[in-house]
């Protein structure tokens, strides 16, 4: 066999196998759909959905279309992913640093946490929080307020909600703060490179963050009110809270389980990253007179982040994908609303499952692109 044939034949076989498998599947799908009298197409998305979703971020009821139901599910998934990523990052960083603590007890308890939570299936943890732990909470009428305003009951968490006036002005001021901080940061960098002067960027930005929004309150006509949840009797035994913000127990259980579980993995990434920096770096930095805080901020963290970020990105992706376990406790996420209820009602398995999978693929791609961009930004810039 000559060299060329060796290169071409395996490729031909691969292409042939792939084409055959896909051809076989489409052929069968065609026949099956003809037999059942369904037409392939996405027209059903505009039809009226006629099912209700118990928790949604946007206005939705049965009279809206399937496309809107899809959006409701997607937003709910993104909400869980966002909160989960936030909490698990904070928790993971704390525990990762605690695992490197010189204090024996702290190190052991952090290790215990990691070993404990990551060796139990996530689904089991979600079930535990939802069916066992949160079910032990008091009924609405028996709940004691926490800090006077939060009510944690079996029906969820009730918190005061914000009532804004002229919210857009406040928003603009925040945007202005962010832009000015970026400008000041660049200016400070230039100043340091050209004249060797240092600006206290951190204090200036904190100051800006407090002062500008405060000005909008004083003269911009922005005002903030709280609406407190108030208990209301429906019947002799039925009580609910009205007003305020209610967070359903499904959301609490899901974010709790997801964050506690993913935090263990992030903690391990953080630990590995900090341990990956050689001791010499720390000693060299200390020997040129940097304070411990400066050593951490200017020498250790920039290098450790390079090691930490890629595996942590993976964990964020895992968390987002794992949020689909919501379907198990009936939190209305993308899988439950769209691949569950909508699929049962329309029977369009192929279209709906592919849309769901494509959505998750795009979320994964978006997160990994974002993190790749950040990773590239902090990567070693060789001259």
């Amino acid at each position: 066999m000559n060299f060329k044939a060796r290169k071409i034949i395996p490729q031909l076989i691969t292409v042939l196998v792939v084409v055959l498998i896909f051809g076989f599947f489409t052929f069968n799908a065609q026949i099956n759909m003809d037999n059942r009298g369904i037409q392939f197409g996405f027209g059903f998305l505009t039809q009226e959905s006629s099912f209700d979703v118990q928790f949604s971020l946007i206005d939705y009821d049965g009279s809206h279309s399937y496309a809107r139901a899809y959006l409701v599910g997607l937003l709910n998934t993104l909400l869980v992913a966002f909160i989960g990523i936030l909490i698990s990052t904070i928790l993971g960083v704390i525990i990762g640093i605690a695992r490197l603590s010189p204090n024996y007890l702290i190190e052991r308890s952090a290790a215990f946490y990691v070993e404990f939570f990551r060796n139990i299936p996530l689904l089991l943890q979600i079930f535990f929080w939802y069916f066992a732990a949160l079910r032990a909470l008091p009924l609405p009428q028996d709940a004691d307020p926490m800090l006077g305003v939060f009510y944690l009951t079996i029906k969820g968490l009730y918190t005061p909600s914000f009532v804004w006036e002229n919210f857009d002005i406040f928003l603009y001021s925040i945007i202005a703060v962010i832009i000015s901080i970026i400008v000041i940061k660049n200016y400070a960098k230039k100043l340091q490179e050209n004249q060797g002067k240092q600006l206290p960027v951190l204090y200036i930005s904190i100051g800006l963050f407090i002062i500008l929004p405060l000005i909008t309150f004083l003269i911009g006509g922005v005002s903030l009110d709280f609406e407190f949840p108030v208990i209301k009797q429906l019947s002799t035994t039925g009580f609910i809270y009205e007003g305020g913000l209610s967070i359903p127990p499904e959301l609490i259980a899901l974010t709790l389980a997801l964050s506690l579980y993913t935090a263990t993995f992030i903690a391990e990434c953080v630990r590995a990253g900090i341990q990956g920096i050689s001791k010499g770096q720390k000693e060299a930095a200390a020997s040129i007179g940097l304070t411990p805080n400066q050593v951490l901020k200017l020498v250790i963290m920039p290098q450790a982040l390079r090691i930490i970020i890629p595996p942590t990105t993976n964990q964020y992706l895992n968390l987002t994908k794992n949020s689909s376990l919501a379907a198990a406790i009936a939190y209305p996420d993308l899988v439950l609303v769209f691949a569950g209820t909508a699929l049962m009602q329309t029977g369009r398995a192929i279209e709906i499952v592919s849309i769901t999978m494509l959505t998750y693929l795009s979320i994964s791609l978006a997160i990994s692109m974002l993190m790749n961009w950040y990773n590239k930004k902090i990567a070693i810039k060789e001259k």
Binding site: P10, L124, V335, V353
Partner: protein
């Protein structure tokens, strides 16, 4: 006697500081111990907040007083170095010790002292602790699922046989050692399949047929993870090789396959296998639920295994390839004899993590209606005779899964050490 400076304990008055400090420290421990074990509050005459915080204050002061550098007492130096380097550390140390002391009595009473295991109805559970009677009664269901009681010996025998056959490697003589890989990769899975097909599923040789819908519990967890583990490993290896191949089509197909499966959650894959996959098959073609699930999970995990193995392949220096090629080895010989043994050695932890993830993912098969351990728990929980014991069930399952996963991760660490070669 030298002047005592309480803000800065030093060696001059070592004994005075030591006695005062340890006295305060032990008093704080004693106080917490009494409140938590015997519900006696010796500081009840104080305001409640102060009484609550007093042990912490005493403890911090005590630890501060015994924080003496180079005291000359070995044990004291050890304590200071490990748990008492500064005030903040002392605070955290106390906090953790108090948390442990406070959490022991409720946990102990829930698990053992107030728990019940006697009897066989719900009414037997009278204590305020756990009701292990529930676990005891349902244990058969948790292990065997809906498998008929009088046929469960079939599952037992197949599992015992499989475990026994897995240990063949330890007893193989030198002459047979070279066939071990063949045995574990090809023959063992075939034996396992035959056992499960003929003994557990039945239907021939006069054994009663038991449909897969009746399988369940822990045994199903093992069956699913076992087969997925066997299938996903070779598949992942080929995908990794494909992704590293110089042939563009092969590479693109592998990349596409890997990225697709890695981008979607397992639950949607299972949805696909249960609602979408049957549409892709000829109408009269029937594939069992369990088989579909095993295929789906294997394909899914294979993508992850492929990425792990690719890491190992990339970590090998080019010289290994060049050296093997210069000996005249072809593609397959080169990979089987030189590259893969080294690459796989490097990625043992990664592969172990993937397998752990696989075991932890098995409960998800509830989506297609197969009930392994967690699924059975959810079923048992809704039984009207046994309402209200969700906690016991989940704790039981958590302990079992924790033991399995922890043992696996420990074993992989051993394996890593065993195969660690100087490079």
């Amino acid at each position: 006697m030298n002047k005592l400076n309480f803000l800065k304990p030093d060696r001059q008055n070592l004994n005075t500081y030591l006695y005062m400090g340890s006295f305060l420290f032990f008093i704080s421990l004693f106080d917490v111990f009494l409140t938590s074990f015997f519900k006696i509050n010796i500081t009840s005459f104080l305001p409640s907040t102060l009484s609550f915080l007093l042990p912490l204050i005493f403890g911090v002061i005590g630890l501060h007083l015994i924080r003496i550098e180079f005291s000359g007492i070995k044990k004291l130096d050890l304590i200071n170095k490990n748990i008492n380097t500064n005030n903040f550390n002392a605070f955290l140390t106390l906090f953790i010790i108090f948390a442990i002391i406070k959490s022991i009595p409720p946990i102990l009473s829930w698990f053992i002292i107030d728990a019940n295991i006697a009897g066989d109805t719900k009414e037997a559970c009278t204590g305020s602790g756990a009701c292990w009677t529930y676990i005891k009664i349902w244990l058969r269901r948790f292990i065997y699922g809906m498998y008929p009681n009088d046929l469960q010996w079939r599952i037992n025998i197949s599992f015992i046989l499989l475990i026994a056959l897995a240990f063949v490697g330890y007893f193989a003589t030198e002459r047979l050692k070279k066939f071990l890989t063949l045995y574990y990769v090809v023959i063992y899975p075939i034996i396992a399949f035959i056992l499960i097909y003929y003994l557990i599923s039945g239907g021939s040789f006069g054994l009663m047929w038991v449909e897969t819908g009746a399988w369940g519990g822990l045994s199903l967890t093992f069956i699913v993870s076992f087969f997925c583990l066997i299938f996903c490993f070779p598949l992942g290896m080929f995908l990794a090789l494909g992704r590293r191949s110089t042939l563009p089509t092969l590479r693109y197909v592998s990349v596409g396959f890997i990225e697709f499966w890695r981008g979607v959650p397992l639950i949607t894959v299972l949805f696909m296998s249960s609602v979408m996959f049957p549409m892709f098959l000829p109408e009269d073609f029937f594939m069992d639920k369990l088989v579909r699930v095993i295929i789906a999970i294997s394909l899914f995990e294979a993508a992850y295994v492929a990425e792990v193995i690719r890491g190992g392949l990339q970590a090998l220096p080019r010289g290994q390839y060049d050296a093997a090629k210069s000996l005249g080895m072809g593609y397959w010989k080169l990979h089987i004899l030189v590259i893969l043994p080294q690459a796989l050695k490097l990625v043992i932890p990664g592969i172990a993590n993937t397998f752990l993830a696989l075991v932890k993912d098995t409960p998800l098969i509830f989506v297609v209606g197969l009930l392994e351990l967690v699924g059975m728990l959810n079923l048992a929980k809704t039984n009207p005779k046994w309402l209200g014991f969700a906690m016991e069930g989940y704790v039981f399952a958590a302990i079992i899964f924790w033991i399995i996963c922890y043992a696996m991760s420990r074993y992989s660490q051993n394996l890593e050490l065993k195969y660690k070669t100087e490079r």
